[in-house]
Amino acid sequence: MTQPASAYFMEERHDPNETHTLSVLVANEPGVLARVIGLFSGRGYNIESLTVSETESQKHVSRITIVTTGTPMVITQIKHQLDRMIPVYQVVDMTLTGRSIERELAMVKVKGSGDQRIEAMRLAEVFRARVVDATNESFVFEITGATSKIDQFVNLMRPIGLVEVSRTGVAAISRGPEGM
């Protein structure tokens, strides 16, 4: 391997990447989402999924759930960079706590007729997906679950006649009585 010429090209990236889910409590003020996204794009971090919604309206607190990948050093950096933003109350690494529940909702549109419809319905039952719209030649399924479950469901629907998918991204919460 040739030596990289500049210090900029030689960050130790030998560590394997990890995927982490971060819950971030923020003051719900204008621009806060732009700040968070700008941090990720500006510093070259990955966003696998990002969801945001106000969760405590009296206190103007929103909760952002971010799924990101990086080396352990980068993940730590991301958490510190988030934590030092002025409107950020708290950052919790749900993956490190190891006791979190992560769910995503997807709506999956499938087109087909005859056997394809029967197969689609059968699979939906197995995955506990609900039919939320139906025509003579299509279904829209609503499915919730871990990201991997939804990926699997979508993959199975593909050969049957997958038209499109809309996913919410991951929401996460810890188990047990304590909050963040």
Partner: protein
């Protein structure tokens, strides 16, 4: 006073609130430039006498002046500019201040709220544009929020790791009337509470490492200057108590005196041999308020391979960012050093490190800052040394531009106190030094303020000479005129086959005439023998001076660690012949 009376007294327009908040936060000077979207604020400024306004000639100048003001006083620098182009001209100083952790409060005018988003005249998305180059920013859409945001702005700019903030105020909010609430000590910010006190357990671990060190080194940075107060005194006491050698980054110069016996000189790309070798070979590194920048570490995988590293920093994101450390301590440098010093003394074990000092002595003997003197031409290093001698006994502040002259200033000017050295380190902004000197001089009217400049850099913000003349700020612009963008030329020589693409300063202005055209004083020197006399004259003049010091055109700045190389692969001046240089830089064109 009855409630209703004080209520009346606190009824005012947004523009008046802004000026009132400045006064309440102890602001004596602001730097700015008027325009349509800030006229109500300028009208308020006109009608009061508490805050002095310094009129610059370009908003970038206001920003750098405020940076110089802040760095030399420890107080936040305040800037007032108009919407659109006023705000975009501020982007460079904001980015500069963010990189170098300088507290700035910048107030920008904005088009009226009902026009926002309509491509109104002189509208730009100021909070959008400045979001990545501020610590935080606000657009105030409602007069009710204005007092709170203004107080918050000062709090955020100055607490924790300092930085620049922007408050964008639409013109209708400046005109609107509301109730002003003064700042209260008890105001606590809901989500931003930086930790200042170090964890005693971590401090114990640090002391254990220090007490058993054989080859320790203290590596300090801008954080010690930021910590203000007694931090620099505590650092000196810590060095005294431990007997450890100490080096500093460009940003931390002056925290420990250059004349101190444990001083190794600056470290990093253009640092001394002894400082870099000590960093490379140490067994315990105590880093205080520095951020392991790539100018310091060189090759990260070869950076100080055998050491245990202790890192004191107020910003957790500085820790383990570039270099993994063994004992992180989050907190204010001043407070943590005090606790560390107490704990170290209590431990009562001062390690014996004579062999280490002996080794350092051998590195020192290499005399890595040596250069060939000449009777015919002024060597830039010599010019700085003479300047340093000439300013001894004066109350001196130094600013710089960016380039070789900046590095020579860092190497050859001895700083004895903190807050005396203002330079653009992180962003490396040419054009910083002249306006920064203005800001310093505003804060220290009777002191000697010198911008050590390059002939290319100084032309970037030259127009502020006019501001200096207007406000009777007798700054001294000492130009090391090598007729090149020397630092660029140096890299082209070392890395690009000596093809000097666009690095020659063609059509050089006559700096003497230029100074006179502005109403300042111009001076010019060619011969080493004339230098001292001219310097004394420059110092005596009570007007802004442009000093055109003609120096050897092709001198290069050494020592140098080619980027991407390890500390012990340093190129020394004596060895910088063609062969050694070619080898040192082999394959390194992608370097930054």
């Amino acid at each position: 006073m009855s409630d209703s009376k004080s209520h009346d007294a606190n009824q005012m327009t947004g523009a008046a609130m802004i000026v009132r908040a400045l006064v309440d936060h102890g602001v004596k000077h602001i730097f700015g430039y008027p325009g349509g979207a800030v006229l109500p604020i300028y009208d308020e400024i006109f009608q009061q006498g508490d805050v002095e306004h310094i009129l610059v000639r370009h908003e970038q100048g206001a920003g750098h002046a405020a940076e110089g003001y802040a760095r030399s006083t420890g107080k936040p620098g305040v800037v007032l500019v108009t919407s659109g182009p006023g705000a975009t001209n501020m982007v460079t100083p904001l980015a500069d201040a963010l990189m170098d952790s300088i507290p700035l409060v910048c107030i920008t005018g904005q088009v009226p709220t009902h026009l926002i988003g309509n491509d109104a005249f002189q509208e730009c998305d100021t909070v959008g544009i400045t979001r990545p180059c501020t610590k935080h920013n606000w657009l105030v859409r409602d007069i009710k929020d204005l007092p709170k945001v203004l107080h918050e702005a000062f709090y955020v700019a100055t607490s924790g790791r300092p930085g620049p903030v922007v408050v964008d105020v639409p013109k209708d909010v400046q005109f609107a009337t509301g109730t002003y609430t003064p700042p209260r000590k008890s105001d606590v910010h809901v989500s931003y509470k930086p930790q200042t006190k170090g964890d005693p357990n971590q401090i114990r671990k640090a002391v254990a490492l220090m007490a058993n060190a054989k080859r320790p080194v203290i590596y300090t940075g801008g954080g010690v200057i930021n910590a203000g107060g007694n931090a620099s005194q505590t650092l000196r006491a810590l060095v005294e108590a431990t007997g450890f050698p100490i080096t500093s980054t460009l940003m931390g110069l002056g925290a420990y005196p250059a004349s101190g016996k444990n001083w190794l000189g600056m470290l990093g790309m253009h640092g001394t041999y002894e400082a870099n070798m000590a960093m490379h070979d140490c067994d315990v590194m105590l880093c205080i308020g520095a951020r392991f920048d790539d100018r310091i570490t060189g090759r990260t995988d070869a950076f100080s391979p055998g050491s245990k590293k202790i890192h004191i920093d107020i910003d957790p994101s500085s820790i383990n960012k570039n270099i993994r450390v063994d004992v992180p301590i989050i907190g204010d440098a001043g407070s943590v050093m005090e606790d560390l010093l107490k704990a170290f003394k209590a431990e009562g074990k001062k390690p014996k490190i004579d062999p280490w000092w002996f080794e350092i002595g051998r590195w020192r003997a290499r005399n890595s800052l040596a250069y060939k003197k000449s009777d015919d031409v002024i060597l830039p290093q010599f010019a700085i040394q003479r300047l340093f001698e000439a300013t001894r006994g004066h109350d001196t502040y130094i600013t710089t531009e960016v380039g070789q002259h900046q590095m020579w200033a860092a190497q050859f000017f001895g700083f004895e106190e903190p807050h005396r050295w203002m330079t653009s380190g992180g962003l490396g902004t040419m054009g910083y030094g002249l306006p920064a000197a203005l800001g310093v001089q505003v804060a220290h009217r009777d002191s000697l303020v010198i911008d050590i400049a390059g002939d290319a850099s100084v032309q970037m913000t030259m127009q502020e000479m006019s501001c200096a003349v207007q406000h009777e700020l007798p700054i001294k612009i000492f130009i090391l005129n090598n007729q090149y963008m020397g630092m660029v030329r140096q890299w082209q020589q070392l890395l690009h086959g000596n093809r000097l693409s666009h690095s020659y300063t063609e059509a050089m202005p006559d700096f003497v005439k230029l100074a006179e055209a502005y109403g300042g004083v111009g001076m010019q020197v060619f011969k080493p023998g004339d230098l001292d006399g001219a310097l004394h004259e420059m110092i005596k003049v009570k007007k802004p001076v442009l000093f055109d010091c003609r120096v050897a055109a092709l001198e290069n700045c050494f020592p140098m660690i080619p980027s991407g190389k390890a500390h012990n692969e340093m190129l020394l001046p004596a060895e910088a012949n063609d062969d050694a240089t070619a080898k040192a830089f082999a394959g390194g064109k992608a370097l930054v």
